[in-house]
Symmetry: none
Subunit: 197 residues, 4 copies
DNA sequence: GTCTAACCGAGACGGTACGTCCTGTCTTAGT
DNA sequence: ACTAAGACAGGACGTACCGTCTCGGTTAGAC
């Protein structure tokens, strides 16, 4: 599918490897120091690249940070065949992602930027929604399978926000537990509420 | 109950008005610029105070920011006599708080600091839990009144996180609507699920 | 001659010991750190005194420094009976003073202040002239004794400046030696020139 | 004679004009405020340069001050053909330098630093000796011409210190006059003493 | 086989904020 | 009226980082 067009531009082509090195460096530093501690000079040094090479590719720190976050794998596609199985798998996958990638350290920083800079909000929203898509998909599959009432179909995103939201709330704000047992209660309440409604 | 002890400290006492002026300045800047844009020099200038006077009271930016956030009023005590009334009132009060105070701009920044600095986590947790207390209280009152099953009493905090969490999720991460109509659905799902369980 | 009047002023009398403690502290710090490194807070701390107590006695740093320098002993009265003996003794005494008291570290700092602040010049001049008086006195005695021609009497201060000046020049500016042998040459040139003239 | 080598250093070259602007600013402030009143921020502002640009070139205030003093012209080469002519010219030139450049305000400050910081002494000595070289040269020429006895040749520097020293002594310490008439007496004493010796 | 344009590393640039330090003044309670 | 203690406004310190710019040099397609 990919095809090699003759380059229209002249001059020395960009070093394609640099992109990866820069993003890896940025992500590592973002994970270690948070957004506020992310230093462009440190990114360049760690990537073995000049600072201008970073700025040539991303115009500022936020853009770089967002691109770096894009390197964090999304939740793996989950489809166990049942709503309860999917939700269990999603929580486990999210916990694993938070444990192995420091995504958890980066998301609130991104949210903070989002609240602060209107110009950044749209871009960040797109990134966030992509990451929450597996949750919505699981709800929609459950409706299609008849596990949830058809009336819930308009509210798939709301239900996803309700489920994912309680995890975020605890991880980022109240620090409460997000273990398997707690999760079962949440699922029971929400799914029960939906079926009853 | 309060009693006037002789001052044990010597030397010129701190200017008590300065505390308020500094916190007001910090809060204003926090609201306008966010945590990342909070400048100690700007705080001092706006408060009409020397920079050293700020640092004498709060050792760093995070401490100052947290103290400033302490000036934002908490959710007003809500007790309408019914769970649904309380929850409606809480959402309205929170929306008003976010609309009038830029608390919304500050919370994710605080969460970001919390994820980044272990030493900050405990202090921030305390502040956060105080702010979420009205939610827990409303749930506990509902259980006491018999509106929610007695079996839910162990999970009051989880339920509060579930309800508040979906609001936070939408405000900070997915940008979805948090209006009255949406809220009714959320309350219906969660309360329905609890009663059924 | 001194007489004890009843104190006319009311209130607590000044702690007379504090003067000495402050000046000693100032002199010690002046010697260790130079005028530029003299810190009023350090003086107060070292003297075991509050800062205000220092400022009550001396209005600013320069005044304090000058008063502290006043504690350095002047050249001892020298009168060996001959010009050559006096000059030898004066050089030895000055060298000892520079070796034991760090006066040498303080004089150029004072000279620098003198060049900078017109208001300080007169006070500093008075202090300096007092310190150079033994040189003038030795010249005047030599004239009285007939060791130097009577025509030199108008120039006693110039001659003193010539003799002391070469020592200052070497100590402060060119770093050349100021030993006994060098001094003999200087004395021989100057005294020879005066007798010949 | 000058030759153009390829630049060995990489990166953007330093702005050569900035050097001059910084030194001029430093010298102006040094003249107006003295060494103690020299402010790095004021230097940068006056030079129209960022503070870091100053620190990139000179690591501290003393280095900058010394470099700035290097901009003050040295005594012009003096060679009138006779010792008395040279000495008259040197005094006149030095007086002019002190009158037009505030070198006089800076030298004692430098001497004070020299006494305070061993590490600074060698550098300052070199600067000072360069400035006193014309005096030594005049003495050496006089010896070569036979105006002074050949036996004085070992003491050229001492004689220079004696002559320049009395001027320094009066300008910096005792405040006595350094006019033409006074100078004639000094020259007469010193030259007379040397010829007689 | 040049020419030219965009790239590259390196590092200086103006600007801004940091957190610390010091001066000289002021404000307490206590002697 | 003094004392110790220490807070105050103001302002400089030297460091660090941002995003831009300017070098000499490299690497490609266009001529």
């Amino acid at each position: 599918m990919t095809q090699s067009y003759p380059r229209l531009v002249r001059g020395r082509p960009r070093d394609e490897e640099a992109d990866g090195a820069i993003l890896d460096a940025a992500l590592a530093l973002l994970s270690e120091q948070g957004y506020g501690g992310l230093r462009m000079e440190a990114v360049a040094a760690r990537a073995g690249v000049a600072k201008a090479t970073v700025y040539r590719r991303w115009p500022d720190k936020l853009s770089l940070a967002m691109a770096a976050i894009g390197r964090i794998p999304e939740l793996p596609p989950v489809d166990t065949g049942s709503l309860l199985g999917d939700l269990r798998a999603l929580r486990t996958a999210l916990a694993a992602l938070f444990r192995t990638t420091r995504l958890a350290g980066v998301l609130p920083a991104l949210a903070a930027e989002r609240m602060r800079r209107t110009s950044a909000a749209a871009r960040i929203d797109a990134l966030m929604q992509a990451r929450y898509r597996p949750w919505v998909a699981a709800i929609e599959r459950a409706i299609a399978r008849g596990e949830l009432p058809r009336t819930a179909s308009a509210d798939a995103r709301l239900i996803a926000d309700l489920l994912a939201g309680v995890l975020m709330q605890r991880v980022f704000f109240t620090g409460g537990p997000v273990d398997e047992k707690t999760w079962k209660k949440v699922v029971s309440i929400v799914v029960g509420g939906l079926r009853r409604g």
